[in-house]
Structures are given as C-alpha cells and as structure tokens.
C-alpha cells in the first residue's frame, strides 16, 4: 500500500516537472508568416512565456511541444512526419492557426496534404487567422493542465 502511494507521488512529480518545463520547437509549414510572428510575440517581453518555463529550442531532440502552423503541403508532409519520428517521446503537438487546424483557405488547394491531424496526432488546436498571443497562451496553459 505504501509502495502504491510512493508510485503515485513519483508519477505526480514527473508530470509536474514536465508541465512546468515545456520546451517548444516551432515548425512552420507553407505559412504566410502571420502565425510565426504571433508565436514569437509570445516569447518576447510583452507576454514572456519563460515565466511558465516555456523556452524556444533549436533542436527537435530537446523539444517537448511541437508547434505546427501553416498549411501542410506535400513537401512539408514528409518533413513533418520525419520530425515527429525524431522527437523524443512524450511529445505534445499543437496545431496553430486556421491552416494548421483545418486547412483554412488552402483546404481546396492542389498541393494541400491535409490538416496537421491527418499527418500526425495532435493534442491541442488553437484556431484563428492568426490567433492572438493571448489565445496561444491560453491554449498552451490548457495543454499543460491536460498533460
């Protein structure tokens, strides 16, 4: 019985550390750059996501969250799958913007390879064209509570 309590505490500690230190890797598909700019806005002084331990990292091997924005075309699809395979598990995937969530105005396009959730499993959707930084922060906070 005591061992059960200890195991529960260890699992709680692990998930607590995980949600307190989410490192973000940013994948831009065929994006119009608006979502990229809004994501960078979250990390700059005004909104400062480092308060919650969120850092932007340069290598997918260090990432805990994969942010995907922009419409995914046939070229991006292979790269996105490759990146998802290279990421150390557990990895959370967030689709940002109308293009990432549904395809947006590119949904009928010739080169469109499906919204992000047709390519890799997605944990959170943040719609908007582009979503406000406040909306992105709200989405990440909800994701951290779920994780």
């Amino acid at each position: 019985m005591y061992s059960d309590i200890i195991i529960i505490k260890i699992v709680g500690f692990k998930s607590y550390c995980f949600k307190k230190s989410l490192w973000v890797f940013h994948f831009g598909g065929a994006s119009c750059n608006n979502c990229d700019i809004e994501i960078l806005d979250c990390l700059t002084p005004r909104h400062d996501l480092e308060r919650f331990g969120i850092l932007l990292v340069g290598s997918i091997r260090h990432a805990d969250v994969l942010l995907v924005n922009g419409s995914i075309n046939n070229h991006d699809k292979e790269r996105l799958i490759e990146l998802y395979k290279q990421a150390p598990k557990p990895i959370l995937v967030v689709a940002i913007g109308a293009c990432g969530c549904t395809g947006g105005i590119f949904a009928e396009s010739l080169t469109f390879a499906g919204p992000v959730d047709k390519v890799i499993p997605v944990d959170a959707y943040i719609p908007g064209c582009p979503p406000k930084p406040e909306a992105i922060i709200a989405g990440i906070v909800k994701l951290a509570q779920k994780a």
Binding site: K14, F18, E50, R51, V57, G58, S59, R61, P88
Partner: protein, 310 residues
C-alpha cells in the same frame, strides 16, 4: 575513504554544487530576463528542467555513430566538473586536503567537460555537431594558454605557492589580490577565460543556437542531456568561486562574512550575465585573435607588473 566519498557525492561535490549551481543558473536567467524587460522564470525552474529531462524524456541514440561514446561523454563531463568543484570548494570552506599542487590539478580537471562535449558531439555523427565540436576545439586552444598565464600570475603573486589553501590564506592575512593594478588586469583576463570556458555569449559559437541549432548538444535528449545540464550548473558555480578564491580572498565562514562570501559569487555571476546580455556572438577567428593576442598581452603585462611589485 568514507570522507572522500562524502566530499565527492554530498557536501562540496555533486549534491551541494549541483543545487547551488542550479540556483545560480536561475539567477542568471532572471537577470537576463530583467535586462530584456521580461519577468523571468520561477526559482526552481532549473530543477524542473533537470528532472523533466532525467525522468520523463526518452533518450535517443544515434544510428550512424558510436552510441557508447555518445552516452559516456555526459558521464565523464559530470565527473570532471564534480571533481573540479570538490578541489575548488574544499579549500574555500577551509578544509585542508594536505595536497600541495592542487591548482594544477584543477586546471586539468576544468578542461574535462569541454573535452567530453567534443567527444560526444563527434560520436553523434551529426554534421552540425561536428561543426560545433571543431569550434569548441579551437576555443579550447585559444583560451587555455591565457588561463595558464592567469594561474601563473596568481602563483607568482603569492610567492610560488601551488595550493589553493595557501593562496586563500595569504590573501586573508594580507590584502586581496584584486586590490592592485596587476590584480585588476588578472581579474579582467579571468572573467573572459570563464566566459570562454562556460561557452557564454561572446564565445558561444560551439552551441550557437540560432546558427547551428545547439551545435555540440544537437543530438542529446533525455537523461544524457540532463547530465549535460547538471555539468553546466556545477561549472556555473565552480568557475566563479575559483575566481573568488584566486583573487578575492575566498570565503570566510564567521558572522556577517558569510553574506560577503555569497555576495562575491553573486557579483561575479552578475558580471558574467551582463557581459553575456550586452554582446553579440563573435566568429571563431575573432575569438582566437582576442585570446591569443589581446588577453595574452594583458596577462603578460600583469606578470611583468607583479615582477616589479605592483
């Protein structure tokens, strides 16, 4: 024997240096955030990062490379950093080891983390890691001679004594070495050597996040990366306290002097952080020239001044 293991694992070693270094690393991040008008992370952030990497994340091994060397490199780096921290911190806490000549051992132990980073990055088989590894190699070649001249200056200044304990005692009996012209020159040289050894911003070309995406650490994930983080925390405590021991008369552990000891370390970390926040990354060629010409010149001038008694 039991005391040695205690020294290594608990008090000045792994546990103490890791926790203090983690707190200093938080201080560094907080000051960086304040410089950029941000709010900055919570106090325990370095520990959340470390335990997340150690306990939660998966460690991925390279397919085209040597997995054994790749995994051994972080272990070696933690070992080297901890040994260096033990040798630096024992005299600072006024525990004599009776080892006359430990400053040369510290000099060699402080290079082990950099060498194991090179070792691990070349074993990962990633081209960007190889670029980072070769840059780290050039960086070591440039700052190591300067660091040796810096230590030679200190040894000459305290009358040919090769152990850290006598150097600290000499300063506590007289004046701190920084209170003279040659001492100030040596302090400037020492600060830049620390900046190079910690690979912080003017000299961060081995990891260059925006250019070669973390360079030497690009392939590390999970527990292996956690050990590298731990090495960085320990080095972030060991190197500023080495500078305190060599130039600023070490720690005193009675009454109000404890506060002064803490403030000395925090002051040096603050200086390092401000340098790192107000400078751009320079090219490796510029770094080699900076150390081999200018810093060596400054160190030689300091040694000549010591010879004439300034």
């Amino acid at each position: 024997m039991a005391a040695d293991i205690f020294y290594f694992l608990v008090f000045p070693g792994l546990l103490f240096a890791g926790i203090t270094g983690g707190l200093l690393s938080w201080f560094d991040r907080k000051i960086s955030a304040r410089v950029q008008f941000r709010k900055g992370p919570p106090v325990l952030q370095p520990f959340y990062d470390f335990f997340k990497l150690l306990l939660v994340k998966e460690t991925i091994l390279p397919k085209h490379g040597s997995p054994v060397a790749f995994l051994l490199a972080p272990v070696f780096s933690v070992f080297g950093a901890t040994m260096a921290a033990v040798f630096i911190l024992l005299p600072l806490f006024q525990i004599t080891t009776g080892f006359r000549g430990d400053i040369l051992v510290i000099f060699y132990l402080l290079t082990i983390p950099s060498f194991s980073y090179i070792f691990g990055s070349l074993a990962s088989g990633n081209p960007l890691a190889a670029v980072g590894g070769s840059r780290e190699m050039k960086l070591i070649l440039s700052y190591e001679l300067t660091f040796l001249l810096f230590i030679a200056g200190i040894i000459m200044k305290c009358g040919q004594q090769f152990d850290l304990y006598s150097i600290i005692q000499t300063q506590q009996a007289g004046t701190p070495f920084i209170g003279s012209v040659s001492g100030v020159l040596l302090f400037v040289v020492g600060i830049f050597c620390i900046q190079g050894k910690l690979a912080l911003v003017p000299f961060d070309m081995p990891e260059a996040e925006t250019e070669i995406t973390e360079g030497i650490f690009i392939e590390y994930s999970g527990a292996a990366y956690a050990l590298i983080k731990l090495t960085k925390y320990i080095m972030f405590f060991a190197l500023p306290s080495l500078l305190v021991a060599l130039l600023m008369s070490g720690f005193r552990l009675d009454g109000i002097n404890i506060l002064w000891s803490i403030l000395k370390v925090l002051g040096i970390v603050l200086l390092i952080t401000l340098i790192r926040n107000t400078n751009p990354r320079i090219k490796i060629r510029q770094a080699v020239k900076f150390f081999l010409v200018w810093m060596n010149l400054l160190a030689v001038i300091a040694i000549i001044l010591i010879e004439f008694g300034y």
